[in-house]
């Protein structure tokens, strides 16, 4: 099947690039640093809790699970951010670059549909990114469990949502790659990614300040690119409710989770952009 051939080619190409070695080294370094940080965090928490317990006038100390949950949130946010960047870098020139170099000139005339080339590339990247996200989330969770003695809830659900964030960015980047040059696509997608992240921050500020206008700006950016809203939902599900209410609106998470409709919208968004890529690639001259 042609889609499987292209998916395998995409996966093999991604894995054979030298950059993959850099990603692996940096990812291992991140997990090691994270483990070290979690270790010191736990030590500090225990000593802080002991000092506070010795002072009757000290205020309430947040529970360990609430504090550890914030550490997990920080780790997952980093994973989400890194995979977002990685998704864009991996796919930014996947079509445009091959049109520019002429590599597709030998592929497209084969007995294969153009849509199959797009579908194959998408699946290849999706497999690679999903495995990477699963491994990185597992690294964070394992660190939390072994070093921090804390197990975050609903980790599978959260991982699926982080994968959805990556798929949203992948769909957008693939669409851009069928329309624009590699450079133009990179600039546009990074700008939109920035708009989504900033929109999410504005929405959190709006929630904290009780400003409907700011919240609506955030919702607007979520419609334009729902990656940040799906991250915030992921952050919501992997935290205990007590931690969410204790921490309140913050730059990394949310106290008001995006609805089921937002998830459906994100899935439809991915499919629509992917189909759009196929249609545009089918119609364009190479």
């Amino acid at each position: 099947m042609n889609v499987a051939i292209i998916a395998r080619l995409t996966l093999r190409e991604a894995l054979r690039r030298k950059v993959i070695l850099g990603v692996v080294v940096l990812s291992v370094a991140f997990i090691a640093l994270y483990a070290l940080g979690f270790h010191y965090f736990r030590d500090n928490y225990i000593s802080l809790a002991a000092r506070r317990a010795a002072r009757p006038d000290a205020g309430p100390t947040p529970s360990y699970s609430t504090s550890a949950s914030a550490m997990v949130l920080l780790g997952l946010y980093t994973v989400n951010f890194l995979t977002g960047i990685m998704t864009i870098f991996a796919a930014v020139g996947t079509v445009a670059g091959e049109i520019e170099s002429g590599t597709l000139d030998a592929i497209v005339p084969k007995p294969i549909g153009r849509w199959q080339i797009i579908a194959g590339k998408y699946i290849g990247f999706a497999i690679m990114l999903s495995i990477y996200i699963a491994l990185m989330v597992a690294g964070v969770a394992l660190t939390s469990h072994v070093v921090g003695h804390y197990a975050p809830p609903h980790l599978v659900h959260g991982t699926l949502l982080v994968i959805l964030v990556s798929m949203i960015l992948l769909s957008l980047t693939m669409l851009g790659s069928t329309l624009f040059s590699t450079m133009t696509n990179g600039i546009i997608v990074f700008m939109l990614y920035g708009v989504a992240v900033t929109g999410g921050l504005v929405e959190q500020l709006g929630t904290a300040l009780n400003s409907n206008t700011m919240v609506h700006i955030g919702i607007g950016s979520s419609i334009l690119l729902p990656s940040d809203s799906m991250w915030r939902l992921a952050s919501y599900v992997v935290q205990p409710s007590l931690a969410i209410s204790f921490i309140g609106p913050n730059p990394l998470g949310t106290t008001v989770p995006p609805s089921e409709l937002a998830v459906r919208y994100s899935i439809v968004y991915c499919i629509a952009l992917l189909v759009g890529s196929m249609v545009l690639f089918q119609r364009r001259d190479l």
């Binding site: 190409e13 002429g102 030998a106 005339p109 007995p111 001259d285 190479l286």
Partner: protein, 326 residues
């Protein structure tokens, strides 16, 4: 993954006598205001080696790209192997070497051919049999396990050629197949073309090397400004508009005038012999001219047709008012 075996064509073989292998009808491509290909009409029979010539910017590569499904025609139609453009069954039996070849350089030669074999729908067994054959054909067997990025430009063109022949095609499009090759490599490609010809494979050859096209092709089309400016068998094109020098005995002005009704007389030099230089649209008219001179009892000491090359024909055909730099 299910794999199909390629050995037999998966659609009814077009009767080679009933349909041409390639048929273009008023094919046209316009980018904005620029007409790149304008009303291109031609047909190529099964088993022909067809040379496709033209100056830079004449629309050759765009024409081939349209036939290969890389570029969509603005209007007009075309059929390959009796099927409309884009037909997947026909594509299974078509090979293509692009002009600006650039392949997945991180693959080895064997991996690259295996990938393209899979895309052709060849079974694992068919690939295992065919890949060593085409590698040997292009003299790359020893380099098969090396990554393409380590290949020289010429070797990359050879592996591209191997790719275009991998599926044992009935129709091959070769866009500048020798542009990166040295004289020995070019000779090898000519031998491959000759072999394909003897096997009945139709070859559509686009090359700037006119001498090669002249040696390899049965027929050629010269296109200019996106239209066919001349088309025909090589011998016919070379014989067309001949320059002939007549060395004659005494000849009257009336006979010269009569000769002028058959040929375009360019120069008459009187002396011990009368030397007449004339242009003849065909060899038949030269024969008629000799017959006329004989009837008028003019002694004919010599008739010397100038041997023309395809390059001469090309230069004559291509519009002299071409934009500089094209």
């Amino acid at each position: 993954m299910s794999e199909t075996v390629l050995e037999s064509p998966d659609f009814d073989v077009v009767d080679p006598l009933a349909e041409p292998a390639i048929e273009l009808n008023s094919l046209r491509k316009v980018y904005g205001n620029k007409v790149v290909v304008d009303d291109l009409t031609l047909s190529v029979d099964f088993g022909e080696v067809f040379g496709f010539l033209g100056p830079n910017g004449a629309g050759k590569t765009t024409s081939i790209k349209m036939l290969m499904g890389l570029v969509y025609p603005t209007s007009g139609s075309a059929r390959l192997l009796g099927r409309p453009l884009g037909d997947r069954a026909a594509r299974r039996q078509i090979g293509f070497l692009p002009e600006l070849f650039r392949f997945h350089e991180w693959l080895t030669g064997t991996e690259f051919l295996d990938l393209h074999g899979q895309l052709y729908g060849m079974s694992r067994a068919a690939r295992a049999k065919r890949i060593p054959e085409v590698l040997a054909l292009v003299d790359l067997s020893a380099e098969a396990r090396k990554k393409i990025r380590t290949y020289s430009k010429g070797m990359q063109q050879r592996i591209g050629l191997a790719q275009s022949l991998l599926n044992s095609p009935r129709l091959v499009f070769l866009d500048e197949p020798t542009s990166a090759l040295d004289p020995l490599g070019r000779r090898d490609v000519r031998a491959i073309l000759s072999r394909l010809h003897s096997e009945g494979v139709t070859v559509f050859l686009n090359s700037h090397l006119l001498s090669e096209v002249e040696m390899s092709s049965d027929r050629v089309a010269i296109i200019d400004h996106g239209r066919v400016a001349a088309i025909g068998r090589i011998e016919d094109l070379l014989a067309r508009d001949l320059t002939v020098e007549f060395r004659l005995g005494p000849v009257t002005p009336e006979t010269i005038a009569e000769l002028g009704t058959l040929l375009r007389i360019e120069q008459v030099v009187s002396g011990p012999h009368t030397l007449i230089t004339a242009r003849a649209p065909s060899e038949e008219l030269v024969a008629q001219a000799v017959d006329l001179l004989s009837r008028r009892q003019v002694p004919v000491y010599g008739v010397m047709p100038e041997r023309r090359s395809l390059e001469d024909v090309f230069v004559d055909v291509v519009s002299p008012e071409r934009e500089p730099g094209r």
